[in-house]
Amino acid sequence: MANPTTRETILAAIGRGKPDLLPLPETIGFPPNISADNLVDSFMKMVQTNGGQAIRVTSLAEASAFLSEEYDLTLPILSRVPGLEISNFTPQEDLRLLVDLHLVVLQGIVGVAENAAIWLDETAIGIRAMPFITLNLSIVLSEKNLVGNMHEAYRLIDTSTGFGTFIAGPSKTADIEQSLVIGAHGSKTLTVFLLP
């Protein structure tokens, strides 16, 4: 539990030591460097740079067909995208069972063209561990929800949910002699479907 004396001591020391009030900058952020008609191209290029794959589809059926070609759908699969019904796995009370997940499909909320980060909050993710523990991750995103940069993204997203995350590719590491390896602890692949 919090130690009230420590708290008071720290706050008092800050009160004594802090500089005179300095203002916040009047404006925060910058307009995007990417024009509206280049959002899709830039986003798709960045998904690739980050080690994922981006595919433009015209319908969820197309995305679903692609997934059934790419993945063995008899393995544990969980989709949280309405209209993309390929789930065969029901999460149990015990989170540790999620380790069997082969593929998770989620609905992205906002995508950032500048870095291909996709915002997912608790409503999109469900059980928080899912996008991290699954072997393969797929995110469905509408082109209408692409923005240029992070400043625009923060204007749109709701940061008041319990948990939310920007995901920008499959998990990766370069900790062994700086060689890039895709698939550290999190998902080993990321496939993004862009819908109109």
């Binding site: 420590t6 706050l11 939310g164 995901i167």
Partner: protein, 462 residues
């Protein structure tokens, strides 16, 4: 008089003995620095972005108490249990108490330089708790019983051969295997077991947001998320300087952080924790450990703006050729050399001298900390406090005299050139000139720049 032993110089000497490794270290970090340059140049507003970040941080420091109170209040309302720790010992005790309350014996930890600073691991291990570092680089150095040598690239001092041998012993990989893909896969399997069995997860905090009462953790591997979402208890530990006012400000910092660190446009995972998940417990530990003292010092308070991107290390010519361990402190490199003497002036008196003061660190810092100027100031503070080794002090006093008497400076230059031309072997003798260790002295120019400049002027005018 207290004198600091030149620990950094001694340790650097040992690192430099393996010339091939030193070259590799130097070149690899320069490669990361070059990636950072390309990432920075891809944003036309880069310099203004740095300025905004710096101003947001300056403003936050000027209201740090208000923002911490706001953070605490909002976090509590979100169901997070908030703790305050004056120093490393209190921090460690808080963590242990939480462990005991839950009868927990296994911790998975994602990278947190704060817990390194507080020496949490040895403390918990002594109490019989299993602590597993889960960032791949951190796990590697943990298996070697070493601290990280870099805040972003913890195992940057090691080659894949070292790691192959290490994993062969500890994880049972094939002898002689060095393929990074194969070794990473082995670590993935090994660490998955640890994630699944841990009772408690500890993460660091990249940014805490006063407005929302939440905090953000950035990783590429996803280890912080796997740990925090699978364990029943999540403890997030942060230095009090990590708070920022509003969520909107994250847009500025997230654009700067990964670009400055590794040249990526953004980290793979930027996770915003705000409330514990149903059935889980979330703690936030706010740690001072010398930060309020740093805040009270006008000369050094700017160092509290640091977002721990590591760019100043990657660019530092001394860091690149001496290795992170030579700094004998948790945060190495230029910024660590400012922070460490604040914690223990005597122990770390050598670090502000482990710099060329070339200013490269200041140039790359995404929050515009005047790093090299603070290092220079530390040298003066340490000199006045008598914490400087006597040989360096003589050198500094000499320089003081030289710089405050322009005529003497000019004469000294001429005398030096004459001396080095006549007796080059003496100038190159390490016992007489410490600068000649590991380097040949350059050939002195025939003419000083000042004389050359005067001559050019004469030519032009005459």
């Amino acid at each position: 008089m207290d004198t600091a032993s030149p620990k950094h110089a001694k340790a650097a000497e040992a690192f430099l003995r393996d010339e091939e490794n030193t070259d590799w270290h130097n070149e690899t970090l320069w490669f990361v620095r070059s990636k950072r340059d390309r990432a920075a140049q891809s944003l036309p507003e880069w310099e203004q972005l740095r300025e905004q970040a710096s101003q947001i941080k300056a403003h936050t420091l000027s209201k740090l108490d208000d923002y911490l109170i706001q953070l605490e209040e909002n976090a509590r309302q979100n169901g997070i249990i908030v703790h305050w720790a004056a120093n490393g010992d209190e921090h460690n005790q808080i963590v242990l108490d939480i462990m005991r309350k839950h009868k927990a014996t296994k911790i998975v930890k994602s990278k947190s330089m704060l817990t390194e600073e507080c020496h949490l691991n040895p403390f918990l291990i002594k109490e019989g708790i299993e602590v597993i570092d889960t960032d791949l680089g951190e796990r590697i150095v943990q298996l070697r019983n070493e601290p990280p040598s870099h805040i972003v690239l913890p195992a940057i001092h090691l080659k894949k051969k070292h790691i192959g041998d290490l994993f062969h012993i500890h994880l049972g990989t094939e002898a002689g295997a060095t393929d990074p893909q194969y070794l990473t896969e082995a670590a993935r399997i090994h660490l998955r077991q640890k994630f699944l069995l841990a009772d408690v997860a500890i993460t660091g905090v990249n940014f805490a947001i006063a407005e929302t009462g939440g905090f953000v953790v950035c990783t590429n591997e996803g280890n912080a998320d796997l740990g925090a979402h699978l364990a029943k208890v999540h403890i997030a530990c942060m230095g009090i300087e990590k708070v920022i006012p509003q969520a909107e400000h994250l847009g500025v910092f997230l654009r700067l952080l990964a670009r400055s660190a590794t040249g990526q446009a953004v980290t793979t995972y930027s996770s915003h924790f705000r409330k514990p998940a149903p059935g889980q417990e979330m703690h936030l530990v706010l740690v001072d450990n010398g930060r309020t003292r740093q805040l009270a010092s006008p000369d050094f308070r700017n160092s509290l703006k640091c977002i721990r991107c590591g760019a100043c290390m990657n660019t530092c010519p001394v860091y690149r050729r001496s290795g992170g361990h030579s700094y004998h402190t948790a945060v190495a490199g230029p910024i660590g050399s400012i922070l460490a003497p604040n914690i223990d002036m005597k122990e770390y008196a050598d670090l502000p001298f482990a710099s060329t003061l070339c200013g490269s660190c200041t140039n790359v810092c995404p929050v515009k900390i005047d790093i090299h100027q603070q290092l220079y100031k530390w040298r003066q503070v340490l000199g006045e406090a008598g914490a400087v080794e006597s040989t360096k002090k003589v050198g500094m006093t000499g320089m003081d005299v030289l710089f405050s008497h322009p005529w003497l400076y000019r004469f000294a230059g001429r005398a030096g050139r004459w001396f080095m031309q006549k007796f080059p072997s003496l100038a190159n003798k390490p016992s007489l000139n410490p600068w000649a260790i590991h380097r040949d002295m350059p050939k002195p120019p025939e003419q000083s720049f000042r004389d050359w400049y005067a001559q050019q002027n004469q030519k032009k005018n005459g």
